[in-house]
Symmetry: C2
Subunit: 306 residues, 2 copies
């Protein structure tokens, strides 16, 4: 059994690679829900959906999120009505949010709804939200104060400087059913190539998860989302710098060393392997850029071999 | 100034006819919201939308509700996800519900949202919900007990017998801003050709509205929704019978006589005019079947002349 901590696009690509080389039913993905928010009264879980759509082979390959061949009738009409169309929800994608919201109103926990959606897509990987309780990533940005994560990430195209992060509600949250068992029982724990500060940290903020991960340190492998000082996608590099971390594999190693025994870094960072090891992690060099399914599967094999 | 009490399709057609023969800004439509409900977390107001879409010239002419040229991508996908697709919401129509729900979450009252939507469609008629407070038409049906109105009307295709109706929350509701003034100040009050029991009665159940209407009895005209013992659309005839009323213009007259001075009946019911007058209403015979805009405008003229 393999258990992975996952954020959005990078994690989803990696998990698809992993599911190509390991029987999918042996994989549990524990997914960040700190990005979840409500808009138009709908419960939106961006990372859960990105992971589900990608594992279903239905994701939009251009963006890495949303659905392939999506249409935008509702958003166009919403704009015509004067509504909020800044967070683009495709027509087919909206069906997911309608489903999730209705099931929530019926009292179903997010973990159950997530399993139902995954089953409807015939996804074999077990996808579990980090918690059934609301945990909200809040971002303090220069000049504005604290705003919601999607207001930062999408509303401001993550182009404003961040001065602090907080995971509101985390202290009162519990891991979703199965999360701790999946960490404790896994042969290997994998920290996917996701933003350490806003994709992985919210998962670790749920009481009990970090403690469980620490116990599995020797069997845990992380993939650095930073390659040669930059994030392939998203603001991880800038955000690391803004929050006082080094935007490099060494900075990532400093964050993960207490929890994870091994860090996979890209060949571009081979020259910094000894510095990573100086932080107390084993360092494995492997190609980490997942240009397509072949590269994602190769990275998955490297993680399993590490 | 003209003020009309309105339900869904029949009222909307009549109001479009009225707006063709009177300056639209002189017309206020007070619309039933007892059919409003929540599905997928969305605030859905079927009668408000039918009136708005019809006055915008955007309604689906085949059904009398929903939007012309609608697409169904979201519903098809929702069905694929295993979701509730029994209440068909078109893609463009969904934008209305997203808009309304988001604005409700922002604290806007339904009356303001309704005005915003009408403005976005360039509708000149003032469309006002009967109340900004929730009033829920509940239907007790044989063999099942009490269910929601849409569960009866759409979910069971209004094919089960009704034993009672109730307007939950009405006793705690207030007329929306402007409703009482529109009734008090109107030259003529019109009760549109709508189901008396589930379209007009919920409006009258809002404290203050029936009292205001009674004072305007001599200037009030109703159009019978029953023609030769049958409803053109919907279950009004069966529902009248099931609830102990005569499904005829005479039964309608018995319901409206305390509130409305004049009843317009179709030519098909000319033979029952004296019975209507026996109930204490003036009776005017005119063609009431609105096959198209020409017939709707003619009926509007007949109401104004009555």
């Amino acid at each position: 059994m393999l258990t992975a901590l996952a954020g959005g696009v990078g994690a989803a690509k990696f998990l698809a690679g992993l599911a190509a080389v390991v029987e999918p039913s042996k994989i549990t993905a524990i997914v960040n829900t700190g990005d979840d928010f409500e808009l138009h009264g709908l419960a939106i879980s961006p990372d859960l959906d990105t992971v589900t759509y990608t594992l279903a082979g239905a994701v939009n390959p251009e963006t890495g999120w949303g659905l392939r061949g999506e249409t935008w009738t509702v958003m166009e009409e919403l704009a015509a009505r004067g509504g909020q169309a800044w967070f683009r929800l495709g027509d087919r994608d909206l069906a997911t949010h309608l489903y999730r919201t209705q099931r929530r109103r019926e009292g179903a926990p997010l973990s159950q709804i997530t399993a139902e959606l995954a089953a409807s897509w015939d996804v074999g990987v077990r996808i579990v939200p980090m918690s059934d309780d609301p945990v909200e990533t809040r971002v303090t940005v220069v000049g504005e104060g604290e705003i919601g994560f999607q207001d930062y990430f999408v509303g401001r195209a993550h182009s404003v400087a961040v001065t602090s992060l907080r995971f509101a509600g985390a202290e009162r949250s519990e891991p979703a059913p199965g999360v701790l068992d999946a960490l404790i029982g896994a042969e290997r724990v994998i920290v996917c190539p996701s933003n350490p500060l806003v994709s992985i940290a919210p998962i670790l903020a749920v009481p009990g998860i970090e403690e469980a991960l620490i116990k599995r340190r020797e069997d845990a492998v992380a993939v650095s989302p930073i390659i040669a000082g930059a994030a392939l996608k998203g603001p991880a590099d800038r955000m690391l710098r803004e929050l006082g971390h080094e935007p490099s594999v060494v900075g990532v190693a400093r964050l993960y060393a207490p929890l994870v025994g091994t860090l996979i870094v890209d060949a571009a960072d081979a020259g910094r392997a000894s510095e990573v090891e100086g932080e107390g992690m084993r360092c494995v060099v492997a190609p980490t850029i997942m240009s397509g399914p072949v590269e994602a599967a190769a990275l998955a094999r490297a993680v399993l071999a590490a």
